[in-house]
Symmetry: C2
Subunit: 345 residues, 2 copies
DNA sequence: TAAAGGGATGTTATCGATAACAGCGAAGCT
DNA sequence: AGCTTCGCTGTTATCGATAACATCCCTTTA
């Protein structure tokens, strides 16, 4: 266990500085009125002993915490890193530390994470939207004693606040993009739609928008494979085999779109002349390859910032702001035909 | 603050079940000997009240914790997700929950994270190697009361245990790969080498191995840009401008290599006929595009598993195992010329 | 000069759990 | 019967901090 003897406590520091534990506590928190001389002595004693406060005791006693829990589906999903960076850049200056948990889209794992995080009585909890929440998780959240915020999804308002795009709008944007260009034979390629409910809503919105135009969306998905480039490539191969006459494809995300593009190139399908391709996210990936992917840009950092700002407001007792809807922008690349007039929302 | 009234405590459950708090505590932890009937009553009471244990109090009292702290440089770095999944798959079955912190390669941020994590008295702490550790961080770690493990780097043994590849070996593998193919005009493309000391060691090993063969490595790096595809593309452009006669390039990671490849294609440099390219990591990215990148495969999940196993052993008081060195494998793709004889270590 | 005010520090109770041990009745043993 | 043993449950002290209030002493002020 490598327990290096006894850990130093407030008491140890107090003895060394020749004051009471209360005085030490006040000095280290910058609370109360303590003379400059005592301050110095205490700080020096703490420094010499290498004192590290015990948050378990501190938070238990004060019923306050500087920890913010963030639970995301997947840390490898590039999407999330920028949301997190928006969160951190807003919370860190306020002295709040974010602790991250990864659920891998598994409701049971998410529930355990929520339980573990909440049992530390955090100052707030941020959860990704679009994951099927277990009944246990809902119960845990209902009895929480901290603000809860939903990320990446403004549509469902189960929690105190939510910041994210409307995934329905995203689906409609893609549908319009294709329809404006006269596409009729349209396909969707995705994965894990049973787990990622946000992606599923985008898909359904695309499907129903097309249906309204009399078009039957061709769907190629796979629940077992990851939402990554390899899968996009694999499913595109499958799509071309079954529906060689396809004119346009929307992918669940940019990574899958890139995988798909690589197969389209190899298979000799010119993009966008023969097939149009649209991704989702506007990640830097989209600009890293030969083709600039047409995609939907989501203001990821801003989502994190808005969520964090709302949290700060709630912690400060300033009430619960309304949900924030992120602006989406369809970014024209060279994987769909550029029209003369401006694109986007 | 949305404090939903008083949070239920052990006492509340005890009163409702008509027993003492101690009995409730024992039932919920599965400790002690409690009759089946009491067990049932307590569990039902806890369930009805939606009781959520307060870990602050529990861990404070028992001086035990089920939390494991993991601090990584960047969650967007695909590399880490598989290491983490190896960690989780080993720790979760044991009832340990991992909490992640992201340092973004910033020593000050890392120090604050270490402080925040340790102040919760975790069961263990896992840190990524290859980041310049501040003196404060070192001091914090020296006085920790839990096992500490270094990930992603087996070379430096500052902590109790370390699991990772030898980055020197990686550099040498690449050097040999180029030398075996008769390359003389060799370049390295990387970013943020001032922050990522592991990458820097790979680079230095490559450089010195080549120097031993009388070759002067051409280096193109940039400290301000991210270690991603866009940067690989940008720096490759710069490299070709300054050194059009180059024969081989090693990139810091696969993402940068893919960005570089896209520019090489556009600029009309056939790969591998005119220029050979080698990446690092063996991520799934490497197989998602037209070209199968020659790269060095690192057993990421296994690194996580070994680290977690070592942690479990140390928590169990079974002593400190020796550092574990991950096997590296140079995977021949089609971005370098295949030789007749087998490749690799 | 006595009362009031305020700066600096200490005392006590408490946060919500667990460790350690103490009780207490029923069963087993001689 | 009397004693031990064991199963079950409760009591007390404690973990390491903080909140709230109490002191103490030195200035002001009338």
């Amino acid at each position: 266990m490598s327990l290096r003897g006894k850990v130093t406590t407030l008491r140890d520091v107090a003895i060394r500085a020749g004051v009471s534990t209360m005085t030490v506590s006040k000095v280290l928190r910058g609370a109360g009125t303590i003379s400059e001389e005592t301050r110095r002595r205490v700080k020096q004693a703490a420094e010499e002993l290498g004192y590290l406060p015990n948050n378990l005791a501190g938070s238990l006693s004060s019923r306050k915490s500087r920890m913010v829990a963030v639970i995301i589906p997947s840390i490898s999903d590039i999407v999330f890193s920028e949301v997190l960076s928006g969160i951190n850049s807003t919370l860190r200056p306020q002295g709040l530390q974010t602790f991250i948990g990864e659920s891998l889209f598994d409701p049971a794992t998410e529930t355990e994470l929520i339980r573990a995080m909440l049992s530390f009585r955090p100052a707030g909890i941020l959860l990704n939207g679009g994951i099927a929440r277990s009944a246990d998780a809902a119960k845990l959240l209902a009895r929480r004693n901290c603000p809860a915020i939903q990320l990446w999804d403004c549509d469902r308002r189960a929690l105190d606040f939510s910041a994210g795009p409307s995934h329905e709008e995203a689906g409609r944007l893609v549908a319009n993009h294709f329809l404006e260009r006269g596409m009729r034979r349209i396909a969707y390629v995705g994965a894990e739609l049973d787990k990622d409910l946000c992606a599923r809503r985008r898909y359904l919105a695309l499907k129903s928008s097309l249906a309204a135009a009399g078009i039957d969306l061709i769907t190629v998905t796979c629940e077992e494979r990851p939402r990554q480039a390899v899968t996009g490539r694999y499913l595109t191969e499958q799509l071309l085999r079954d529906h060689p006459g396809i004119e346009a494809v929307h992918f669940l995300n940019d990574a899958m779109a890139l995988g798909g593009l690589s197969h389209l190139h190899e298979a000799g399908f010119p993009v966008p002349e023969r097939i149009s391709v649209v991704g989702f996210n506007g990640t830097s990936l989209a600009n890293a390859v030969r083709t600039r992917l047409t995609t939907i840009d989501v203001p990821r950092a801003e989502i994190g910032e808005k969520a964090a700002q709302a949290l700060l407001r709630m912690i400060g007792g300033e009430g619960v702001p309304d949900a924030w809807q992120a602006r989406l922008k369809l970014v024209q690349g060279n994987t769909t035909i550029a029209l003369g007039r401006p694109q986007g929302a």
